[in-house]
């Protein structure tokens, strides 16, 4: 109840600050562009199976970056900023617990990002479906559900990091650092892990478990997890071609669940014992 009250206030603040409307317009334009580009390019390259399912996957792989960057921008100050300015003392003078505040921020900021993301995706999916004359309701629903989970997960990570500190400059360093390591540089990290475990040299053939390592970045987990939800195969995106209990796209879903819970739990632990 308290969590919802905090979330509602947070979301209303976002509504009034007009950030939501700007974001919505950007996402709609972006999504329309991606959908248009997909149908144009697949037609140009004479891809035979120009499917709405492929469109859904393509949309997902393209919005990952934008969702993650926007999540950082709207959530890195969620707790740290309110602590730095002292606003949090207003919230925490009312009968809210720190957990209410933390979860309320996750919900409120998730809504702030989910609304433009979902509106944008629906617009892109609609345009793509019209252009291709095909409408795949299951795949597109899977896209919307998975995108919603992805949005909440990314916001949860950022709010969790924000709860570690009472300084916005430190919060921005930590969140950007997270983004650099886990999104931009993860390919290098992945190769580095193989190099280390292979006795400081690169093998001619990469071990199968690299598949797991590559699912660590939240946006990779998102696109992989999406294929688990979608029916049939997607051209160019196969399940791993080796036998192992982890050779399944459900790894992506599990990894997202990890990101949804663990950073927030660590942030909560710090925040619950901090002096404000």
């Amino acid at each position: 109840m308290s969590t919802l009250a905090v979330a509602k206030k947070d979301f209303q603040d976002a509504l009034r600050s007009k950030a939501l409307w700007g974001l919505s317009i950007i996402f709609i334009l972006l999504s329309l562009l991606i959908a248009y580009a997909f149908t144009e390019f697949t037609a140009m390259m004479e891809v035979e199976e120009q499917t709405a399912q492929g469109l859904a996957y393509f949309l997902a792989s393209q919005i990952g970056l934008f969702v993650s960057i926007t999540a950082i921008v709207i959530a890195y100050k969620a707790i740290a900023g309110e602590r730095e300015s002292g606003s949090i003392k207003i919230l925490l003078s009312l009968p809210h617990t720190r957990r209410d505040v933390l979860l309320g921020k996750v919900l409120g900021r998730s809504a702030t990002l989910a609304v433009p993301t979902l509106i944008g995706l629906v617009a892109g999916a609609a345009l793509g479906s019209v252009l291709m004359g095909e409408f795949a309701i299951v795949s597109l629903s899977a896209l919307l559900v998975m995108s919603l989970v992805f949005v909440v997960t990314y916001i949860s990570i950022m709010v969790g990091i924000s709860a570690l500190t009472g300084s916005t400059s430190r919060a921005s360093m930590l969140t950007i650092g997270f983004f650099l390591v886990f999104e931009i540089l993860w390919g290098v990290v992945s190769i580095g892990i193989v190099w280390l475990t292979n006795g400081l040299s690169l093998p001619t053939e990469f071990p199968n478990w690299v598949y797991l390592v590559n699912q660590v970045p939240p946006s990779a987990a998102f696109t992989t997890g999406l294929t688990a939800l979608m029916p049939g195969d997607i051209a160019g995106v196969g399940t791993p071609e080796f036998e192992a209990f982890y050779a399944t796209p459900w790894v992506g879903v599990i990894m997202l669940a990890f990101w949804l819970v663990v950073p927030l739990a660590i942030g909560y632990r710090q925040f619950s014992k901090a002096d404000l």
Partner: protein, 301 residues
């Protein structure tokens, strides 16, 4: 019943000691003034009462509940005007009050609250555009929601004009009449003197005195001043007066002689002037000001 009970509360931040073994009891229904220079530890004390900070040692009880373990229950029955709060959100003044009413599960009419604190004309504007004084009024209004048993007001008159400060005092009195306990922190002595039953003085994290203002005056032994205007000050009169028992200082100011003295010595001072052959034209006395009192306790000048 006891509204606030601090037992041996110590709070350190790294090497800095913000509070040093503070023991303090505020009775139910009391208006308690919490005085101290900036940085004395007033806000730290309030942070501990509201569990915004945890004591390094000691124990805090609010309304008979543990301040650190029963936080939500404490806040349900406490109205707070925090100090150094950040900018408010994009909601209007009225929505802020509504938010508080909802959070406290109270049945107050937001219109009555905004009217009571004098921001009804601005209730539908975003609070982020409020002036300092209006923000302070809004925060007071939010503190009043739900008829709290305890009001904690941290430097409530900051940013208020004299009229606003007077209204604040009237509201404090009205809340006290309703039966609420008021814990009122300030570095401005007059604010506290005007409304408080008892006063505690905090200095560098130490609670140096707790008493009524009269009691403090007596205990500090701070003397008043007496100005006797004469037709002319005879030579040697100042020395004679200074020798009187109970007179602590004298100085000559034109045709007047100013003596720092306790009340019983005043007649003797006037008598000494007459004996010296001077005609007494006027007598003015003043009690020790709270500033003097404050300085006597906090060691400042």
């Amino acid at each position: 019943m006891v509204a606030i009970d601090l037992t041996n509360v110590t709070k350190t931040y790294g090497d800095v000691t913000a509070l040093q073994s503070v023991d303090l009891t505020v009775e139910d229904g009391e208006v308690f003034g919490f005085l101290g220079p900036n940085g004395a530890g007033k806000s730290t004390t309030i942070d501990i009462l509201l569990d915004h900070a945890r004591p390094t040692a000691g124990h805090a009880q609010v309304l008979g509940m543990d301040a650190q373990d029963e936080t939500v229950a404490v806040r349900e029955r406490t109205g707070v005007l925090p100090e150094r709060f950040g900018p408010l959100g994009e909601m209007t003044g009225r929505q802020h009050v509504e938010f508080t009413v909802e959070a406290k599960d109270a049945d107050d009419d937001p219109d009555r609250i905004v009217e009571r604190v004098g921001i009804d004309h601005a209730a539908d504007r975003p609070a982020s555009g409020y002036s300092k004084g209006m923000t302070q009024r809004l925060m007071l209004g939010m503190a009043l929601v739900g008829q709290p048993d305890l009001l904690i007001l941290d430097e409530p008159t900051t940013g208020l004009d004299p009229n606003g400060a007077r209204q604040m005092r009237e509201i404090v009195r009205a809340e006290a009449d309703r039966g609420a306990t008021v814990f009122f922190s300030s570095h401005i002595l007059q604010q506290v003197e005007a409304v408080c039953d008892r006063v505690g003085i905090l200095d560098y994290g130490n609670l140096v005195a707790v008493d009524s203002i009269d009691g403090l005056r007596e205990a500090a032994g701070t003397t008043g001043e007496m100005t006797v205007t004469l037709d002319g000050v005879p030579d040697g009169l100042a020395d004679e007066i200074e020798a009187i028992d109970g007179v602590t200082s004298t100085r000559v100011d034109g045709n007047a002689i100013v003596a720092g003295c306790e009340n019983p010595a005043k007649a003797a001072v006037v008598e000494a002037c007459r004996q010296a052959g001077a005609t007494v034209e006027n007598i003015e006395t003043s009690e020790a000001s709270l500033e003097d009192l404050f300085a006597a306790y906090t060691g400042g000048a």
